[in-house]
Amino acid sequence: MKEFLEHGLNMNRRRFLSRLSLGLGSVALGSLLIPDLFGGGSDAAESAFIPGMPQFAPKAKRVIYLFQNGAPSQLESFDYKPRLREMLGQELPASVRMGQRLTGMSSGQASFPLVGSFYDFKQYGAAGAWVSDLFPHTAKVVDDICIIRSMFTEAINHDPALTFFQTGAQQGNRPSMGAWLSYGLGSENKNLPAFCVLLSRGKGNGQGVYSKLWSNGFLPSIHQGVQFSSGENPVLYLNDPGGMSKTDRRKMLDKLAEMNQLSYQEFGDPEINTRIQQYEMAYRMQTAVPEITDLSKEPDNIIRLYGPDCLVPGTYAANCLLARKLSENGVRFVQLYHQGWDQHGNLPQEMAGQARDVDQASAALITDLKQRGLLDETLVIWGGEFGRTNYCQGKMVKDNYGRDHHPRCFSVWMAGGGVKPGLVYGETDELGYNITRNPVHVHDFHATILHLMGLNHEQLTYKHLGRRYRLTDVAGTVVKDILA
């Protein structure tokens, strides 16, 4: 019974309790922590999907999404195009561009000179995957990851493209993917939120992030992503004020519960008991969170694996290590954002810096999860919101150039959690402009992630203002080829 309750039912508490005719005694108090009982919502009984449990055996239990904010160039990372170097400075053929719309930043350019990668590529792993010299650590784990070179999207500007990737729609305040999974699967740890967000920033040209990217949209706010950090204030408002000990806090909460209990006796409103329990959960978070976010006790070999930056709060490396710890402790969805990937100019230099920020720690996360036996059940994703043009934006000199936004093809990688390891999936043309094989749309990408988590993307719905909304809107096909 406890298990059943803990899976949660997305029903209003008052209705829930009255329907089940349970008293407000021990069972109810224990169960009020169920995340999905926190708010009203659509009727759980209407479909095979029941919030809080997978529909079929999931491959992955948790997700860590390493979002590379600003859109890293696929042409200097995972999509090797030697032809572009040969054609350096030549005009992008109209037959390739096919009238594709361009952003306002380069649409006025008189010419579109092709430019190849400043960095060399080599082949790695059993599949001989091409990886640029900017990602030496990732190159070492290619046999554990699946590189998709044929992602495409519909948006060509950062805000709508990011929003599309995170919420399945370019406009309109929809719930973020993490919120959907929190709603769909609930939390595995009753002391931690199901959806955590970690931010970092590189030195490259950045575009910022927006909290709507981890918004609960129309879902109850318990599904909102909660920002974490490895610093002294890991979660907003978590720390008691100076001068207040744990014992003092306990004392206050005990008095508070007693007084709230009096109020309950008078009003009989179950919300009062829920509030008492929320204070208890807050109290437990106050203990659990600092333990998890304290990276200082990690052993030396782990520090070496992620690199020394992982001890500096707020860095990407620290966030990767923290992501592992949160995930290991049952956080359903850990969302990282590393900003600074928008190389309209000065690409060779800026991209090297960005790659240095993320390469070692991203690879370390794979290695670390693997050595703990967690990679099989943890889905790790790396990638940005679109790709970059094969032609130069702005002035081109031999060792310096920039690339504009390019939605038609770009590369992401996925690892663990039921994804086929060591696979390179999809292809683009020899100039890296159009996809020639196995295109993967953002909706397909979402459908696949949900599938790996044991959810049918067409059935994970939430009824809001008369419509059943999905993360995948009205499209999306599971990319079966990449499933292990």
Binding site: S18, A44, P54, S106, G172, S211, G243, E271, G466
Partner: protein
């Protein structure tokens, strides 16, 4: 036992389904139930349409492109006709379920025949099927959708106890209660009633003198006097504006990527002013929609049109101009639909509406009203004061401030511009956009309104926004009054008469009290769309004045309080949580309007999430008075809204919202425990209590009264006192701890005060702030 986690899940699912089906029959208990558990008379609007709409219309409804087998079930004629694909058969044969293809298909056990198809995963329940069968037997009579028929005043129903009723509202409510076997709660105790009343009308808790005055005169006339007093306070306009800000998606930044500053706050000041002046709802909205088109319009009427410029505006370099211009027009169209008509017209943006009779063409006809603004998609990149409003804008001059725009709280002499509406001289052509794409225009269309609601008579009205406003407030318009009355009801009772305040369409919830909603809507129109009168009408009712205690088995029979046999009881919205804390501590600055303020906020939030461009890249916290303004005035940067607002279910102002959820989460507990704003208020109030001569228990009592707005019970006093003594001992032993706990907030500490004593009192006050009842309307 060796069951995997996953199969336990399955087991749980089965258990759940069992439980739900066992309790399902309880849901449908209601008046006039026949022996078969079905209503005596099956009504299309109330029983059948919700099923058909939810389960059938997606394929057999208004969307012509998605219609299967050429069958439409949302229109009687079409459903009675011979089926296109099954000659000789009819979807519905009135009076004869056996001959009706609909019944044959929904009741079939053959999965190849059954509807909805198993793949749709939307099975009908046995109860649904029985309802449809009975409806067909009774003649399969269709009725127009209730919300698209103009409301009329029904006669007041007979009720068992006239004496309970204080006004017409109560007649409808008591009648409904009675039919469900419920009876009203006794009237709330005066202290709690006053708190409720003050929060609903001013958003602020009552002061102690106000409490004393109210308790001294509990007569019926005394209550009414209190209502009138509160309605006349300037805080009334602020309270009313809170909801309107969500609806109007007001913010202090442009949104999108760089999210730099915008100066729309004078428009917000106008909203407060308009509510306080009790501008009638029709004028209030007409000015906002079309103030610029009114003949000889005033500066005030022009300012009001800022409503339609509150949407996000991009400053991202490299966007395609037309893509964003179309986005702005879309936003206005959707806002008009959701906020003022209560329909999800936005669903017809890419295709015909799936449930409501709105075609995609009609969407763009409505869109045409908003498509003629003298604007561009990308006017400027992040920049200085000239970018704080986008064209068309108005400049607020010194003369304005002394003249018609006196209500704008402008303290400096800087240039102040506000985005407003203004149309082009030549009409921009409007086309249906295929799939909603800006670069895929198809058929040219002209301004008109959805015919299912009320056709637009372009002989009577001009084909512009002013005409649209006139159409909206035509007595024949079925929605405008209902939607507004419902949203005010929702503000007070926490739940609208129509629960889905933004969807009065086919998929929306049916009104719990349809006759009451219509009566209120008509009465509202008959009395000149008078908002204060409406608010007064609601709070004068006996329905409103009931105690909110959940007595007897009401939790079982009506857990959501749909039938209103008790008073409203729910947590305050984010802004009012702040207001309560500041007002009760004496910190609140009672100043109306002005530029939004930046109170305490945890460090790094803006800095970690910025492109680095613009004046909002770093959070520059305000000081002094600006730290203690009402929640309404907290600065909203759209991409990083105030965290407390988000934690307490506020809107991020990305788009129009007409309803907030009310959740109860551990993060809310953490805010109340540790937000410096709460702690500072506790410290300041504690100091005030200690500085006032009086006995210890008088001080504790006063703290409780200021925050909870009633006298503490004996047991409560005992707990408070015990905790206070304990804290006194704790801090007496550890003065260093006292020093630390007092160092919160910028408000000065009084000189010569004993710090351990102050810390102990501060802890008590903090505890009282954390009581469930503190931030709850009881």
């Amino acid at each position: 036992m060796c069951i995997s986690r996953y199969s336990k899940g399955l087991l749980a699912a089965l258990l759940l389904l069992l439980l739900l089906s066992a309790t399902a029959c309880r849901q449908h208990k209601g008046p006039a139930t026949a022996a078969d558990g079905l209503p005596e008379v099956v009504d299309y609007n109330f029983h059948i349409r919700p099923i058909l709409s939810d389960k059938c219309f997606a394929c057999h409804g208004p969307d012509a492109n998605k219609r299967k087998a050429g069958l439409r079930l949302d229109i009687a004629d079409s459903a009675y006709k011979v089926l296109q694909e099954t000659p000789g058969a009819h979807a519905l044969v009135p009076g004869n379920p056996a001959l009706s293809e609909v019944f044959r298909r929904i009741s079939s056990t053959d999965t190849a025949v059954r509807m909805p198809p198993p793949s749709a995963n939307m099975p009908l329940s046995a109860h649904d099927i029985a309802l449809i069968e009975k409806w067909i037997k009774q003649g399969a009579k269709y009725k127009p959708h209730w919300a698209f028929v103009p409301p009329v005043k029904a006669p007041l129903p007979d009720v068992p106890d006239q004496s309970w009723c204080r006004n017409e509202i109560d007649r409808f409510v008591l009648h409904k209660m009675d039919s469900y076997g419920l009876s009203p709660n006794p009237v709330a105790d005066p202290q709690r009633l006053l708190k409720r009343l003050c929060l609903d009308l001013t958003g602020l808790p009552p002061s102690i003198p106000l409490m004393d005055r109210f308790l001294a005169d509990t007569s019926a006339a005394g209550y009414e006097r209190m209502v009138d007093t509160l309605l006349a306070q300037p805080a009334y306009g602020e309270k009313m504006a809170v909801h309107w800000m969500d609806l109007a998606r007001y913010a202090d930044s442009h949104g999108y990527q760089d999210d730099n500053y915008r100066s729309m706050w004078p428009w917000r000041d106008w909203v407060i002013h308009a509510f306080n002046e009790n501008l009638s709802y029709d004028r209030f909205v007409t000015w906002q929609l079309a103030g610029d088109l009114l003949p000889d319009h005033t500066r005030e009427q022009l300012l009001a049109t800022g409503f339609n410029r509150n949407h996000k505006i991009t400053e991202e370099g490299g966007v395609i101009d037309e893509e964003y211009r179309v986005e702005y027009v879309t936003d206005r169209t959707n806002t008009f639909g959701k906020a003022l008509l209560g329909v999800t017209i936005e669903c017809a943006h890419c295709h015909d509406h799936k449930y409501d009779p709105f075609s995609q063409k009609e969407y763009y006809e409505l869109y045409a009203f908003f498509n003629n603004v003298k604007e561009v998609g990308l006017e400027s990149l992040v920049g200085g004061p000239e970018t704080y409003a986008k064209k068309p804008f108005m400049e607020i001059s010194k003369e304005d401030l002394h003249d018609v725009l006196k209500f704008i709280n402008k303290q400096d002499t800087n240039k102040l511009i506000v985005s407003v509406m203004g149309d082009r001289d030549t009409v921009r052509k409007t086309y249906v956009l295929n799939r909603g794409n800006y670069d895929a225009p198809t058929l040219e269309v002209y301004p008109a309104t959805p015919k299912a609601i009320l056709p637009f008579d372009n002989k009577q009205y001009p084909s512009n926004r002013l005409g649209l406003a006139q159409w909206l407030f035509s007595p024949k318009n079925p929605l405008a009054a209902r939607v507004f009355v419902n949203s005010m009801w929702q503000e007070v009772f926490g739940r609208g008469i129509v629960k889905t305040a933004g969807d009065f369409g086919m998929q929306g919830e049916l009104p719990s009290h349809p006759e009451l909603l219509d009566w209120l809507a008509v009465d509202f129109m008959e009395h000149g769309w008078n908002i204060k009168r409406l608010m007064k009408q609601i709070v004068m009712s006996a329905t409103y004045r009931q105690s909110s205690a959940i007595t007897g088995d009401k939790l079982g029979t009506d857990p959501e309080n749909i039938y209103l046999s008790r008073g409203p009881r729910f947590r305050l919205p984010a802004e009012l949580v702040r207001d309560l804390v500041l007002e009760s501590s004496g910190l609140l600055v009672h100043k109306i309007g002005g530029p939004s303020v930046k109170p305490y906020q945890p460090p790094g939030l803006w800095e970690m999430a910025t492109s680095g461009r613009g004046q909002l890249a770093t959070y520059r916290q305000d000081h002094n008075e600006s730290l203690y303004r009402r929640g309404l005035y907290t600065f909203i940067k759209r991409t990083v809204p105030p965290p407390v607002l988000m934690i307490f279910d506020g809107s991020n102002r990305d788009q129009c919202e007409v309803k907030r959820l009310t959740t109860n989460t551990p993060l809310q507990a953490l805010v109340m425990m540790n937000d410096p704003q709460v702690l500072e208020a506790a410290r300041v109030l504690a100091a005030r209590l200690l500085e006032t001569p009086g006995a210890e228990n008088e001080r504790l009592r006063k703290a409780f009264r200021l925050i909870i707005c009633r006298q503490p019970e004996e047991k409560e006093m005992a707990l408070l006192t015990a905790y206070y003594h304990d804290q006194q001992q704790t801090f007496a032993k550890a003065p260093a701890k006292a020093e630390k706990i007092l160092s919160v907030g910028e408000y000065p500490l009084p000189q010569n005060i004993s710090k351990p004593a102050l810390a102990a009192m501060m802890q008590v006050v903090t505890m009282v702030y954390n009581l469930e009842e503190a931030i709850t309307k009881t």
